[in-house]
Structure formats: C-alpha cells, structure tokens
C-alpha cells in the first residue's frame, strides 16, 4: 500500500478557467522521496498543499495510509505532517529553540523531553545547539535558517514531510550542501517525503521517484533512470534532458550497454554501476572491455566497451529509445546512483 496516494485528483480555483491540477493519479511509497517536477504554474505546489489540506481537491481524493484526507480533521492531520517552504517562514519573534519546538508546544508537550529533542534535531541538521538555541532567525544565514526549518518540520516526528522548493532561494553551493544533508538525514530517518522543485538536477539527485507535471497534469512518473531511458513524451524528454549526454552517463545503468562477452579475462564491474562508472574504469584500467557481473551472484551478464557505451548514449539521444528487457532491476539502479562498485580482477 502507498503511504500517500493521489486518486484522480483535480483542483480548480474559483474563477479560474483551467484546472490547477487535472486528474492526477499516482502513489508515493513509504520511506521514499517523491519529487514533483515541473515548471511554475504546473500545479505541483497545489498538489502538495492538498496533502495537508491547505487546499482541498475539487474532485478525486488523496489517501494517507489508505484513509482519505478529507475524512480527517485538518488540524490533527497537519500536526502529523512536516512542512517546509522556500521562504522558510521561521517565526521572527521566536528564538531558534522556540521555533523548533512550536509543534510539540501546540500539542501541549513541554519540559525536559522536548528540550533534549530540540538539541537532537539541531545536531541532526548540523547546527550546534549551544551556539544557536538562543539566537533569532534574522541572525542566521539563509542556509542556516532552512536547516532550522527542516528541524522544525521534523520536531513532532512526522511520518510525512512536504517540502515546497525548500532550497530554491539558496545559492548553488549551499543548495548542494543542504541536498546532501537531506539525503543523509533521510538515510537515518526514512520519512516519506514529497518534494516540489523545478530544478531537474535537484529532482534527479534527490528523487527515488519523479513525477513530471505540466499544466496540472501528470506527464510521467518514474525513477530518474526510467525518465531518462523511457521518456513518455517530448515534454518529459525535453525537461529531463534526454539529449543531455552527461546526465545519461551519470544516471543510466551499465546494463543498458551490454554486449556478449568476447574475452572473460577483462576486468569486471558490478551491474549496479552507471555508464559513467564504467567509462571511468575503462579509461583507468586501459582495458578494451569490462565484464559486467551480477551484484549478488557475481555471474557475468555481458560486457561493455567504449563503443557499446557510445552506441547506448547516442541511441538515448533520440526520443524513441526504450529500456531493453534485459537484466535491469529497479533496486540496483536506484543504489547505483550513490555507489557504483568497481572491482578489477
């Protein structure tokens, strides 16, 4: 069962001619990061705001743990969902500590437990409690403020985190750093995160699943690899940059460039490696080919060469490309984005 499920959700604002969200249906698995990717006005923020009922759908329904959101009291529902926005929205009249404990305090939790929880959260987002607890938001940089924003959203241990372009207003370096921190925190905490962005690189970096939106409609849902290898239409292809060779190298798994083994003595590479891993290893080892071995069994699946990789990348540069039905497997592809183990024999 999905943690969050959108069932044929539409939203039309009063007085608007077209739908802000138009019959959107998809599910978000528990403990995963689902990125809503689209241009401004594509309905991604509206979709997000309907999860914690800051807006309600005109038709269709959203289910959390199988229960429709409209069947739940909006205030109770929101207290179980973390919310982070681009403007951060720290309360300027409260210290960092007070900001982080807002949700526990509206729930009536006070005292020592909450104190140590605040410390714990500040450590988690990389701020030293002793130094920051008593400061006010305007004494912090934009990046630090958003760290507090994240700590605040996590304070009541919500199972779901909604993030609306949280890093959109930060400079490139700070943004990259916070993206890394979010991935680190997510490895520890395993929340279900719905993340809105218009930044394709950010979507590819963070998303287990990416939902591409345009004009209120869902264009495609899939893993970064699926979007790159099998874009549903010209729009998705254009947006994710199917013709972006570097991105293909970075995300496509090595198994997409397999050819039959010609010589078993070549160095090996595991099947969860990316084309980029393979390319670098070919250059480093000076070998003509790499034998691709299954991640678990170590069995040979085929080999890759500079030529087979080049052919694959050229093939992807045309929209008609499709995933071959070979030994490709989702889990391996997802983990290949973080680590592609290279072993030479």
């Amino acid at each position: 069962m999905y943690k969050i499920e959108f069932r044929d959700v539409s939203k039309q604002y009063p007085g608007a001619v077209s739908h802000a969200v138009d019959h959107a249906s998809f599910g978000v698995g528990e403990g995963s990061i689902c990125v809503l990717l689209g241009t401004s006005g594509s309905g991604k923020t509206t979709l997000l705001r309907m999860v914690n009922r800051l807006a309600d759908p005109t038709s269709g329904e959203i289910l959390i743990d199988g229960t429709p959101t409209v069947a739940q009291d909006a205030i109770t529902l929101r207290r179980r969902i973390g919310y982070v926005i681009q403007q951060v929205g720290l309360f300027p009249h409260m210290t960092i500590e007070e900001n982080v404990r807002v949700v526990p305090s509206i729930l009536g939790h006070t005292g020592h437990d909450v104190d140590s929880r605040v410390d714990q959260l500040l450590w988690l987002v990389g701020l030293e409690p002793a130094e920051y607890r008593k400061r006010y938001p305007r004494q912090l940089s934009g990046g630090q403020q958003q760290r507090v924003g994240l700590a605040r959203a996590l304070a009541a241990e919500p199972a779901i985190l909604l993030m609306d372009e949280p890093f959109g207003a930060l400079d490139a370096i700070t943004r990259r750093r916070l993206q890394d921190e979010l991935l680190r925190i997510q490895r520890e905490m395993r929340r279900t995160i719905l993340f809105v962005t218009h930044d394709v690189d950010e979507a590819f970096k963070l998303g287990d699943q990416i939902v591409v939106m345009s004009d209120g409609s869902v264009m495609q849902q899939g893993s970064p690899v699926e979007l790159l290898a099998q874009p549903a239409n010209e729009f998705v292809s254009e947006l994710v940059g199917t013709r972006n060779i570097l991105r293909q190298f970075e995300f496509l798994p090595v198994t997409l460039a397999l050819e039959p083994v010609t010589d078993g003595r070549h160095p090996t590479i595991t099947a969860d490696a990316t084309l980029l891993n393979a390319l670098l290893e070919l250059i480093r080892s000076g070998a003509d080919a790499l034998v691709v071995t299954d991640t678990q069994s170590g069995k040979s699946q085929g080999q890759v060469t500079l030529r087979s990789i080049a052919r694959r990348v050229q093939a992807s540069s045309t929209v008609e490309s499709a995933l071959p039905e070979t030994t490709y497997d989702h889990g391996a592809a997802a983990s290949s984005r973080t680590e592609g183990k290279v072993t030479a024999t």
């Binding site: 800051l54 109770t76 929101r78 207290r79 919310y83 403007q87 309360f91 300027p92 009249h93 509206i106």
Partner: protein, 218 residues
Amino acid sequence: MSYILNGEYWQMSDPTSIPNLLIGHIVMTVVAIVLGLAIAFPIALVVVRYKRFYLPVTSAAGIIYTFPSLAFMALLIPFTGLSPATVLVPLVLYTQVVLIRNIVAAIHAVDPALLEVGRAMGMSGTQLLLRVTLPLALPVIVAGVRVATVTTIGIASIAPLFGVENLGYLIFQGINFSYGEQVMAGVILVSLLAIGADLTLLGVQSILSRGRQIAAVA
C-alpha cells in the same frame, strides 16, 4: 522653573499640588487608553475579518476625531455633568481613529507566509492569533498606542474646565490670575509627561520587538 522647583507645591496634602495633579493626569490618560484599546481591539478584529467595514468604521472614527474637544465635552454636560466621564468619553473616542487604523495595519502587515506555516503546522485559529498574529503585530500596535497616548495627554489638559483636576489646572489657574510662571509650569509638566510616556512605550515596543527591527511609528 521656580514654580516647579518650589517645595510648597509638592505637598501631597494639597489636592492641587504638582504630584497630585500629575497623578490625576496619568490616571485619566491610562484609563482613556485602556478603554480605547478595549473598544478598538474587537472592532479592528472584525474589520480585518470583514473588509467591507473598514471604510465606514475608520471614516466614522475620523469624523469623531474632528469634533472640537471643548465643544464635545460641553455637549456631554447635560448627560454626565461635571464628572470624569464628561472628559473620558471624548478622550476614548478620539483614540479610536489612531488605534483601529493601527491595529488593522499591524495585523495586515504580518507576513502571510508565516500564517500559512502556522496553519500548516496544525495551529488552531486561536493558536494562530495568540502565537503568530498578535506577537508579530504588537510592536506596530504599540507604536499606535504611543501616538494616541501623547494626543490624549494633551487633550486631557482641558479636564479642569469640567471639574476634573490634573496638570491642566496649572494652566487655567495661571491664566485666570495672570501668573505666567504657573502657566509655564503646567505646559512644561504636560510636555514632560508626554515625552516620558512616549519613551516608556518605546521601551515596551522594543521589548515586544524581540528578534526584529523596531517597527517604525505608524
């Protein structure tokens, strides 16, 4: 200055001594401002909620503000006689135009993103008002209270004409007896009181502005 510094005029047993007149002035001002806030607050909250009332309400308060204070109080004598009420009713009504406008402006000035965040965190309407809207609006509201207080201290000086003693007594008494020193003492003390009250409220404003820049006087 010799009048103010003369110990003879500082005896508490004399109802028209400087400390007693000062206390009378302060009490009248405080009562007028507190009553003024008690009326302006609910009106402002209603106006924030139902915007169509804004223009009629502020216009009415503005028109009342144009009534000459002396005439206004004189008109009340048939109803309230020579009593503090005769002075207080106009004073309270005069504060409304500044207070209502300021409270409304202060609440409107609260960043909508913060209200959205508060709502998204699961704050109830009351929690949102008490934890977000009011703490953020208070410094601006106090800025309005400062203006209203200074005005009230000035207008309250005519209270002795209606049988209520305060620092205005020195001015009227001095005029009646062509005693310039006494008039000057009254004027100086009223001014000092106004300045003191303004600075005190500025202090309150800066305490309420914790974590932010002090709001400009609106």
